[in-house]
Symmetry: C2
Subunit: 329 residues, 2 copies
């Protein structure tokens, strides 16, 4: 079986690929497991990781180019579509966001449709499809009201995946992801990038900036749970998923100071002191527009799991990223 991951050299793509290599064969609910013979990581960037496993091929190209995408998609048996321009970047570079997040999605769906195989695709969406005036608890039926171009493009992606699935062109599943933390690597142009920075940088004895108020609630999930969810969404049968093709994922709700308290418990007060608090009204406004409490009833019924605690998330990051402990605990 040939796996395609768009946005494959991004951090979720890399972790998903690594997990697939470990699994060796992929379980499909109600069908035979399949060997993973090849994993194509398609991305705009080659990325920093060297893959020694001969099953992995990195292909650099433009998801906004229909012909490129048709060529890449043609060989794939299953697709994870993770390629995206992130929130703040899509806000500043509107054309780039439209090209990658909207035209890229259209290109992938058109290429899959042309194959005529009803190929299974897991599409990464986001709770940024919501914004502004929200109920206290966002349910599976809360209406889409994006307040960013990124959220708009993600909402459109969900609608397209649902319609292409209904038409029988693909077998699509969109996962609405919480803010993923702790992301390894460097800050990116997501409005939410600080949610990782304020933990990751202090753990590496580097300073970090927190642009929002300490009491700001955030809705998060760890990279491990997100990779698990990506795999689960691909594994579940058509019948189990049913007609509704968007799955808002469960996550943890906690305030920034609860996150910082966990950092303190694990790495001590010197780590906490590396955080500089510099309010940025533009970031605060975007973050305030996102949901903080989410019911995620359907996802829970489908067996998608949340993290147990933020301490557990921080410890998993230290383990997965082989963080050198500079603190004495």
């Amino acid at each position: 079986m040939h796996v395609l991951i768009t946005g494959g050299t991004g951090f979720i793509g890399k972790q998903l690929a690594a997990e697939l290599l470990r699994m060796d064969e992929f379980p499909f609910e109600g069908a035979a497991a399949e060997n993973i013979d090849k994993i194509t990581l398609f991305d705009a960037f080659a990325g920093d990781r060297k893959w020694s496993d001969p099953r992995v091929e990195v292909i650099v190209g433009d998801i906004g180019d229909a012909q490129t995408v048709a060529r890449i998609v043609e060989r794939a048996d299953i697709v994870w579509h993770l390629a995206a321009v992130v929130s703040s970047d899509a806000e500043v570079n509107f054309d780039l966001g439209m090209k990658v997040n909207l035209q890229g999605m259209l290109n992938v769906l058109a290429a899959l449709r042309a194959k005529g195989m009803r190929t299974r695709i897991v599409n990464a969406s986001s709770f940024a499809v919501f914004g502004g005036d929200l109920p206290d608890i966002v349910t599976d039926r809360t209406d889409l009201k994006p307040k960013t171009s990124y959220g708009t493009q993600k909402a459109i992606g969900e609608l397209l995946v649902a319609d292409y699935t209904r038409k029988g062109f693909v077998d699509g599943r969109s996962l609405r992801l919480p803010t993923v933390t702790v992301r390894p690597g460097k800050p990116n142009k997501a409005a939410s990038t600080f949610v990782s920075s304020i933990i990751r940088e202090p753990l590496s004895r580097q300073p970090a900036v927190c642009p929002v108020r300490a009491e700001t609630p955030v809705y998060i999930s760890s990279p491990r749970r997100v990779v698990e969810a990506m795999i689960r969404a691909m594994c579940l049968s058509d019948e189990t998923i049913g007609a509704e093709r968007t799955i808002p994922l469960p996550g943890l709700t906690l305030s920034v100071d609860e996150m910082v308290a966990a950092l303190g418990r694990i790495a001590g007060p010197a780590a906490v002191q590396l955080i500089r608090w510099e309010p940025d009204p533009a970031i605060q406004r975007i973050i305030d527009g996102w949901p903080t409490r989410v019911e995620a009833a359907r996802a829970k019924a489908l067996g998608f799991k949340t993290d147990k605690s933020f301490d557990e998330i921080v410890r998993a990051h230290i383990e997965d990223e082989r963080v050198t402990k500079w603190w004495s605990q």
Copy 2:
């Protein structure tokens, strides 16, 4: 002032243009009224109507072609975007629906953005953005769950208009329209076309087919109210409309047999007997997925009006279309 109506030779486009010609100058809330110097009706078809008024120009072209649209939009000061492939047609001819309803919308928005004038655009959307499992009363916050490609494309149009407006590229307003009846002319490929046929054909002493059960509820508006709403949506100021750019319109809810009863009251039992009842499960399924009771709180607060009764709608059709009375009443 130069007015552009896309889909301008369609029946709403024609009635809107005729009304604009009667008005002579267009009132803008909180600003000076503007003379209507020119009305461009852009459409894929030239249409049957001859316009004697020199202010009207019909231009035939492809809304799916970005360069054509850029040329047409460049000269327009205000735009009504009515061009669409209707529901059943977009379901059967998926590519055509995507080209006209999605790419056409993108082309119009991109062309307006390129002008850099924050041009005002009224976009015709539809309650087909809903489908399937719906609350008893659809509110302004009911979540988009289209169950047709047409509904999907209209939902995407609403999201795009909202985001282009938020970004300051256009001043957009999307009107979510009920099923419009009584449409003049011939049946089209809308799943809802029978809602007009069962009245229009008997009034012209022609047979009509009703493909749904008599007790099926429909949510409707007359052409007069829709044209009024189109004008009102263009007239209202930015401040009055506010941040939320989709306006679900008020309408009447009544069952098919209540509509037929009104036909009987006005044109007698011989007219009613011209309706043949031939259930079509595909049409029934689409119609059953559409909302039947709609709150439309915001539209009502903004002064959008409903029809008083279905009898009034039928009488207006007889008057507007100069229907020859063959019945003795």
